[in-house]
Amino acid sequence: MKIFLIIFSIIFSFSTIQASEVSEWFEKESNQFLEIINNNEGTESENYEKYKDFVNKNFAVKSIAYGLIGESIINKSSKNELTIYLNVFTDYLITTIYKLANSSTSSSITLRDVDVKDNIYIIKSEIIDKKTSANLYWKVIDTGSSFKIIDVIVENTSYFVTKKSEFNKILRKNRGSLEALIKEIQKI
């Protein structure tokens, strides 16, 4: 019984430390994100570079990119094709976030709760601008050296799930051709 209690308290304190670490990371990075959104100074390309740095630092881009096309496409594609796809997808992700963030002026992101499931942190936050507020969930993994975002869910809409259905459709339409998907992504 005693041993059980000790093990339980070790596990509990370990997960509490991890949750506080991820909360700290989130507070820091969300504030930086707000700074970028609300910064109207600088040229368009300078602002774009800031988004690029933010995405590369905080998003698990490769995990998202590969997760969107799935294992069978990865296995049948050449290394060169995958590299091109990863580069194109990274630009696409940055552009999407840049466009979405540019059209809104957010005044605050408040952390509400942190939950852990299957080693994935689910951070619940609320984004509030002048007019409305929305629930914003972040799915985050611990890579050992840092935390990385693998999905963002606005209210009930997941970025990963939405893009996966779009990409799947393009791949199905083009008999699994990664080249065709790359061309479609480049159009945006």
Binding site: A60, K62, S63
Partner: protein, 246 residues
């Protein structure tokens, strides 16, 4: 006779849906999350209807919505939104009864009573008293009762739906105690529809500019929102990328 007709129509719809449930080419789980392969046998027609809807939206609805949003002060916009949402509380009350969610049903009834008497529904006084709004409709009720979604359909002017949810909407039209007891119910239906369009205006603008395939994007978002109302741990259960080394 009119009342009998409503009951017969309702029975026909439910029977039809159960038939569809038997033959639908999809997973048998009712509340399971389907994302990769949403049952969409009439996709070419749906795509044409969606294009038509965007065309109508561009030339007629969007300009009205943009003008309204520009002219109406924020409290007015909020008040109108609250008014139409309040009109749906009675049907939510009925839906929750059929779902066996009696406390939520009572909550909806209480919200309707408080908000109607204090402000004709234009202010959400009930929320301030701790009676939060719970979304539901007869489509969700049918889903919880075991009816499968059936094929995805895009309805002219109205937008994305599926056979189950569309049938739920049709049944609502007949059994809704509010719209059945007011004169000129068509105006309320049009007003409510326009209000819903106002509420999704910003999201729709984002769909226009950030999508490689807006049809797939809208379909996915529609199903995610439905599943969020059906799944207890929806956010936790959403699929995530398999982790690769960065």
């Amino acid at each position: 006779m009119k009342k009998h007709l409503k009951v017969i129509l309702l029975l026909i719809f439910v029977t039809f849906l159960h038939t569809i449930n038997t033959y639908a080419n999809e997973d048998a789980s009712v509340s399971g999350i389907y994302y990769d392969e949403i049952y969409d046998p009439i996709e070419p027609i749906n795509r044409a209807v969606l294009n038509f809807n965007f065309f109508i939206d561009d030339i007629a609805i969007r300009p009205i919505v943009k003008t309204y949003k520009f002219i109406a002060p924020e409290p007015v916009e909020k008040g109108v939104s609250n008014f139409f949402s309040n009109l749906k509380e009675p049907i939510r009350t009925i839906s929750f009864i059929f779902q066996g969610e009696f406390s939520k049903s009572f909550n909806s009834l209480g919200r309707f009573t408080i908000n109607s008497f204090t402000s004709l529904g234009t202010f959400d006084v009930a929320s301030r008293l701790g009676m939060e709004k719970n979304e539901t409709d007869l489509g969700i009720t049918l889903a919880k009762g075991g009816v499968s979604s059936g094929p995805y359909i895009v309805i002219p002017i109205i937008g994305p739906s599926n056979l189950r949810d569309f049938s739920g909407d049709v049944i609502e039209y007949f059994v809704d105690p509010i719209s059945n007891n007011v004169p000129n119910r068509e105006y309320i239906a049009i007003g409510s529809g326009l209000n819903e369009r106002v509420e999704i205006d910003e999201q729709l603008d984002k769909v226009r500019e950030a999508s490689s395939d807006r049809y797939e994007m809208i379909k996915s978002i529609y199903y995610q929102n439905i599943n969020a109302q059906l799944e207890e741990e929806y956010i936790q259960n959403l699929p995530v990328p398999k982790i690769y080394i960065e």
